[in-house]
């Protein structure tokens, strides 16, 4: 008995190793079934090891084949945006730590810059800018290390995770030295940073860079070139260039589909424009080396390559940093001039946008956050249909979703 299953709109990975030969001219995929089977509803999450938190994906499965997927969000909703309308400008900063808890420095930076955009005349000292970039890029490395490690876990390799945590631990120790916290830093403040680097800290960052450059080769060899890993991720969950743009993907998800777009270069903020002009870093864009352009392998590759670029940016800052003030002239009780501002920055996961509205008071009228994870996770639904259950896990992992941010 032959049964035809409609191909998913755009999402089915062309590899669909199940039935490569049986793709009908109409674009439908045909597979043979001995007995009539019944679709089963499967709750992947909210408590499931592959969903990286409390995301719930309602799968419709026919044996091992996923015939429908629907992500359900909101299990970690903490009303972060609403809180922004109720606390003072500076008091909201710790809340930004908590949406993408793997890249809190970048979140701090995004919010601070949005508020700073309203405060005309406020000048951010150069040393503060440097420290901001060093911390943001170190945090990007840490975030990508988690992405790389947990993606290995999703695929079934345990060891890369521990390798990744080894360097992340050092990174967190560095942050602990500069701001006292390991995860929720609140280090980057409106107007600058709150604490200067302790003596010897910059030298230690340099040593971290030296060691990381050597260890990075290990990461690449251990997972990225692993034959099984390539087999599991290449040609799986292919996002075409058009699809990536249509879904509004940003960050490694977008560059993984071959779109050369990075806010650090294309809409430069802080000192990134200067660093780019200096030729200190490049933007890795996937080329579809192992399979189709835009597959899971490409996305992971972009993340792994970005770590090295971040190291280069950190090195540039270390070479150019000079003593000086670390925070601009910001009053203790902050009254932000009337107006509205949107500032998007390149978070490890994509564009993190903050839209803030002020009426000149101590409290914001509106704080709106455009979280990259929230936008990026939307694509999973289209990608999962028609794949195998294992591929579904690989696809969720490749979006590198942080539930704290999708739900906020």
């Amino acid at each position: 008995m032959a049964q035809t299953a409609p191909d998913s709109k755009q999402g089915a990975s062309p590899s669909m190793s199940l039935d490569e030969a049986r793709v009908l001219p109409s674009g439908e995929r045909e597979f043979m079934l001995d007995v009539r089977t019944q679709d089963m509803e499967l709750n992947m999450g909210p408590q499931h090891p592959a969903t990286h938190g409390v995301m719930r994906i309602l799968l419709r499965v026919d044996g091992e084949i996923v015939t429908g997927a629907q992500p359900h969000l909101g299990y970690l909703h903490r009303c972060a945006e609403k809180i922004g309308e109720n606390v003072e400008w500076l008091q909201y900063l710790p809340y930004t730590d908590r949406y993408d808890y793997l890249s809190s420095m970048n979140n701090n930076l995004g919010y601070s810059m949005a508020v700073e955009a309203l405060m005309t005349g406020l000048e951010i000292p150069r040393r503060a800018q440097m420290l901001r970039i060093i911390c943001a890029e170190l945090n990007r490395i840490g975030s990508h290390l988690i992405a790389y490690g947990t993606y290995g876990l999703d695929i079934g390799a345990f060891t890369p995770f521990f390798y990744a945590f080894r360097e992340r631990e050092w990174m967190m120790a560095l942050f602990e030295k500069i701001c006292g916290a390991r995860l929720t830093y609140s280090y980057i403040r409106i107007g600058g940073v709150f604490n200067d680097a302790p003596p010897g800290w910059l030298g230690e960052v340099e040593r971290f860079c030296d060691v990381f450059e050597q260890k990075w080769v290990e990461y690449y060899d251990l997972l990225m070139e692993n034959h099984i890993f390539v087999k599991r991720t290449a040609d799986v969950g292919v996002i075409s260039r058009e699809m990536a743009l249509d879904f509004g993907l940003t960050g490694p998800m977008l560059r993984g589909s071959g779109v050369d777009w990075d806010l650090r270069r294309d809409m430069p903020y802080s000192l990134y424009g200067e660093i780019w002009k200096d030729g200190a870093f490049k933007i890795p864009v996937a080329r579809g080396e192992k399979g189709s352009l835009g597959d899971c392998w490409d996305r992971t590759w972009v993340r792994v390559m970005e770590m090295m670029e971040s190291i280069k940016i950190v090195r540039w800052c270390l070479a150019h940093i000079e003593p000086g003030p670390i925070i601009g002239d910001v009053p203790k009780v902050l009254r932000v001039p009337t107006g509205e501002a949107y500032v998007g920055i390149e978070n490890p996961r994509g564009e993190l946008g903050h839209y803030v509205v002020s009426d000149g008071g101590k409290v914001a009228i509106r704080v709106r956050v455009r979280g990259p994870s929230f936008v990026n996770v939307a694509v999973t639904e289209a990608l999962m249909t028609g794949t195998l259950l294992s591929d579904a896990v690989a696809i969720v992992g490749s979006t590198d979703v942080v539930i704290g941010e999708t739900d906020r």
Binding site: S17, L18, M40, L42, H48, P49, A50, G63, E64, G152, L153, D154, I155, G156, A157, F158, T159, F162, Y163, R166, L223, N226, I228, F229, K231, R232, L388, L389, S390, D391, V393
Partner: protein, 399 residues
Amino acid sequence: MLAVTETPLAAPAPVGDGNLVLDLLTGLRPESVPLWAVMATSALIAVGLAVALISLIAMFSTWMERKVAGHIQCRYGPMHVGWHGWLQPIADGVKLLLKEDIIPKGADKVLFVLSPAIVLASLLGAMAALALSPNFFFADIDLGVFFILAMTSTTTIGVVMAGWASNSKWSLYGSMREAAQVIAYEVPLGISLMVPLIVAGTFNLREASAAQGGWYGMHWFVFQNPFMLPAFLLFFTAVLAETKRAPFDLPESESELVSGFLTEYSGIRWSFFFMEEYAAMFLYSAVGAFFFFGGFESPFTWAVAQMAPHTIDLGETIGTLKLLGEGSLLHNLVAVATIVVKAFAGVFLMMWVRWSLPRIRIDQVMTLGYKYLTPLSMVCVLGAALFELAWIRFFGGAS
């Protein structure tokens, strides 16, 4: 059951010939005790030994797995319970024993309770055919390796039962994958084992081992035939799939199926599955050692066998005990050490693979099994048989 093939049971057999335990007991037997009682006693001893052995192997393997995993992952593994955490398995065992016994509400109670027992019992049965030394074995079965393969594949029934009885979709997935995987990999496993069987000419583990004693104890089957090494690689791959080890750990696959068929199990029932897994790893490694890497034979075993025989007299009832030389106590001890070391080398290899490789997908598992391993193992059998034939034709006698 203990069985002795060569020694006549009527007369007290000479010590060191045939089965040590049975010989010893037969020697000690007063006239009033019937022979069947002696055999039953030795069988009970054998069962006790097998159970103890499985537990010991499982305990040591869990410790070893943690240590291997730890060191591969830049950490130490257990360090606090005893020296380098060697008592950790005992601590874990106590914890598992004391855990609340949970049977899910919707579960099929009978099957749920029965499946860990079936899994462990079939492996215990398989253990009976494992010879530990030339003169110390539980059952000297002529179809030894066939028996081991048959019994170990019975564990699949237990796993499928566990998945069904748990009344959980994840468990069902796990057991379905297990069934598909085992069916696919039994074939290459059996066929790749045919290669050494052709060379050995026997299914019996002891005889296979004895056939590899030349070349100062290094005349292993793997050196006897060019198709042996590829056959071993196929065998090893199939064993990984059979024992549900990474990269074929699909029935459990934590990141996909929560814990697969183990999802609803806890406490001692859960530990039964793990005892089975580790014991199966050891057993398959031992089979691999017997049929590819010389079994009991090693230069050490050879050296002990070459020693001048030395016996001591232990009185009339027991007779004499050989200390040195072939078939002596020392020879047996060295043989046990050899096979245990070889088997654990195989176990270590499996652990190394597990902590290095990602998991492959179910369709890739099937493709690998049916499209590659099975035909390749058939090619190996054909090649090995032709090689043996040519050898006999041109050089006379087996390679």
